[in-house]
């Protein structure tokens, strides 16, 4: 093993010591020894995988795509591991806990983008690209401007997504393991730097696969225990939940989540087309050998993710029946007459997002609680590692290799830039996590999806399907999509009213996607068809060969030798 790798791994192990020591010194309240042990086992396992991956990672192809040697099934699990964030596990089960049916409406939106990814994108992306989706977007257009646009889109999505994950991670780890917020954020940052710099895509993939198995296994066990209690009859479970939940049978109907049709459609567009524009997800299609494996990986991923959302629905209802009548899980108040009361909907210790975690305790005891706590942490690590790798690839492959050195840089230089960018992104993520500690970051994931749907998705889809796309059209459309998505979110109720404290929002809807995606497509179309330059004609002529390659895979990048 390379001494730098060995030192890095030792540094990682050393970084964990203060957490363990701190947890020990706190004892009892707020610290769960089983959780710490499970977590240390998980970290040990992933560091071992990273050590192995580091020995396999030599070329840029190894670093960005694990040499293209991941199978369709493995990639399906890794995609599911990349996509099922702690926000969807804890957030959706918490939403079902408080609002019942509304949680199902929300989770459905997170799934329906996947078939679109399969039908329109996965195979063609694999046939045309090498390391990043910008390879495809810039295939017949001018390299420099399109790479800059794609890298800007990628880094914007990664930044918003990372902020949401880091703040969530800090809060969650603080609560589950009893370590201070800042230490938790630094720990997450260090772990993701270790995985990505030493193990590249191979280590990231296996962290995601291990996490997906742990999450699916843990969630299956919880749902099984809940249903077992009701003789495997969902009807009995719903009956019991309606009796216990203060909202009664309203939890079986659509509630306040969908305010008006425009908001509903706008959210739907952001989730559906945003999924198809997430850079860390698109990058995963280059880790498999060919278009056939890319296609299979979406099939498996859709199955795992859909199954997972059905489980979160059962887990949310399970949390209603197992937790709401038990004051042990609540912050309680004792009245003058000695009566103990608690707010079933909002009084849960640690907030409603902890519903799934408390349910783990209720159905499986402290050992299983420890397991689910470790799963929640593993979930965050796998997602941030994937995001960081996507961001580092945009900097090193799109900006450094393609734009700055005009594809002249040597492999070793590109890998060095990737590793430096990874460390920088990790440090930036820690700083952002610290800055945003007390901000409302719930809208950030929605914003990441809106930007992905407004910048990455239009340029990618049009470059593959529309022969008349030109550099000018893609550039103007893409940047208008980016600017409108960000500006409309700033003017929306979530930021303009909640964060800035203004009276009324200038833009009335929480999600901008309906408007920003439309603007991006229309502007791209208009500025392409009115582009009569010489280069535009060459770009249009280049569509023919590109189309044949996208359909047949002739000339596609193969898997590397090892």
């Amino acid at each position: 093993m390379h001494p730098i790798v060995r030192n890095g791994l030792i540094a990682g192990a050393v970084a964990l010591l203060p957490v363990y020591a701190y947890a020990q010194s706190q004892g009892g309240a707020g610290v769960n020894t089983a959780a710490i042990i499970m977590f240390v086992i998980f970290v040990g396992m992933t560091l071992f995988v990273t050590k192995w991956a580091a020995s396999q990672t030599k070329s840029t192809s190894d670093f960005y795509t694990a040499g293209g040697g991941i199978t369709g099934f493995q990639n399906g699990l890794a995609i599911a591991g990349d996509y099922m964030s702690a926000a969807s596990f804890l957030g959706i089960s918490g939403l079902v806990f408080t609002s019942g049916f509304d949680g199902l409406i929300y989770s459905v939106g997170w799934l329906v983008g996947w078939p679109i990814v399969l039908f329109l994108i996965a195979e063609r992306l694999r046939n045309l690209g090498k390391f990043t989706f910008a390879d495809v977007a810039s295939y017949r257009l001018q390299q420099t401007p399109i790479r800059i646009l794609s890298a800007t889109g990628t880094l914007t999505v990664v930044a918003f997504y990372l902020i949401a994950q880091m703040v969530g991670a800090g809060k969650l780890i603080e609560l589950l393991f009893g370590v201070p917020y800042l230490l938790a954020v630094i720990l997450v940052g260090i772990m993701m730097i270790i995985y990505v710099t030493f193990g590249g895509m191979l280590a990231t993939t296996w962290v995601q696969i291990i996490k997906a198995c742990m999450l699916l296994g843990g969630a299956t066990f919880m749902a099984f225990m809940v249903l077992w209690h009701y003789n495997f009859s969902p009807g009995n479970l719903f009956n019991a939940a309606v009796e216990i939940q203060p909202k009664g049978d309203a939890i079986m109907r659509p509630g306040g989540l969908v305010k008006d049709p425009i908001s509903a459609i706008s959210l739907g567009i952001a989730l559906m087309f945003g999924t198809a524009g997430l850079p860390h997800i698109l990058m995963r299609f280059f880790t498999v050998a060919d278009a056939k494996a890319a296609r299979k990986s979406v099939f498996y991923a859709t199955g795992f993710i859909g199954y997972f959302y059905i489980l979160t629905f059962i887990i949310g209802f399970g949390a209603i029946v197992f937790l709401m009548n038990n004051p042990d899980f609540y912050t309680t108040t004792t009245g003058a007459d000695g009566a103990v009361t608690w707010d079933k909907l909002t009084g849960l210790v640690g907030g409603t997002n902890m519903a799934a975690v408390h349910l783990a305790d209720a159905v499986g005891g402290s050992l299983f609680l420890g397991f689910i706590s470790a799963v929640a942490f593993a979930t965050i690590l796998a997602v941030v590692a994937g995001l960081t790798l996507a961001g580092a690839s945009a900097v090193s492959h799109d900006l450094y290799y393609s734009v700055i050195t005009k594809r002249q840089a040597a492999d070793a230089d590109v890998i060095r830039v990737s590793k430096i960018s990874t460390v920088c992104l990790g440090i930036v993520a820690i700083i952002l996590g610290y800055i945003f500690e007390n901000q409302n970051v719930a809208f950030m994931v929605g914003l990441a999806f809106a930007v992905a749907a407004s910048v990455n998705f239009p340029v990618l889809v049009l470059s593959m399907f529309w022969s008349k796309l030109t550099t000018r059209g893609a550039l103007i459309g893409g940047f208008l999509g980016l600017a409108s998505a960000v500006i409309l979110v700033i003017l929306s109720p979530a930021v303009w009213v909640t964060t800035f404290g203004n009276e009324a929002a200038i833009f009335p809807y929480d999600n901008p996607a309906l408007f920003s995606v439309s603007l991006a497509f229309i502007a791209t179309w208009f500025f392409s068809i009115t582009d009569s330059s010489k280069t535009a004609q060459a770009e249009i002529a280049g569509f023919g060969p590109q189309y044949v390659r996208s359909q047949t895979g002739l000339g596609a990048e193969g898997a590397s030798a090892h």
Binding site: V108, G235, R253, P261, I310, V548, G553
Partner: protein, 102 residues
């Protein structure tokens, strides 16, 4: 990899057949997914009462629950249909197209 191979393929009837079939299936399935999902969203927005109808007398389970599960399962089934067709017909056609230019 050279231009002429791409030109020859694009004129090949087999290639045109492959593209026609694959585009047709992908378009149909995409439209189905869009109709199912946005149909569900529009029901939520315009007919929440319908989704809240109990599935039977004395039952608290509403029609919305099986409909929501149907949307999830349909996403999986639609990807399955595409993959099954692609694994057999499209891959075979694709190999034939590539063999023609070898």
């Amino acid at each position: 990899m050279n231009e002429s191979a791409y030109d020859r393929i694009s004129r090949s009837p087999k290639f045109q057949e492959l593209v026609r079939q694959r585009t047709r299936l992908a378009t149909i399935l995409s439209i189905l997914m869009l109709v199912i999902y946005f149909g569900f969203i529009l029901l939520v927005a315009y007919a929440p009462g319908f989704l809240g109808t109990p599935i039977g007398a004395g039952s608290v389970t509403t029609i919305g629950v099986p409909i929501g599960l149907f949307v999830i399962v349909s996403a999986f089934v639609l990807t399955g249909i595409y993959v099954a067709k692609a694994n057999t017909t499209f891959d075979r056609l694709n190999e034939e197209v590539l063999r023609e230019v070898e």
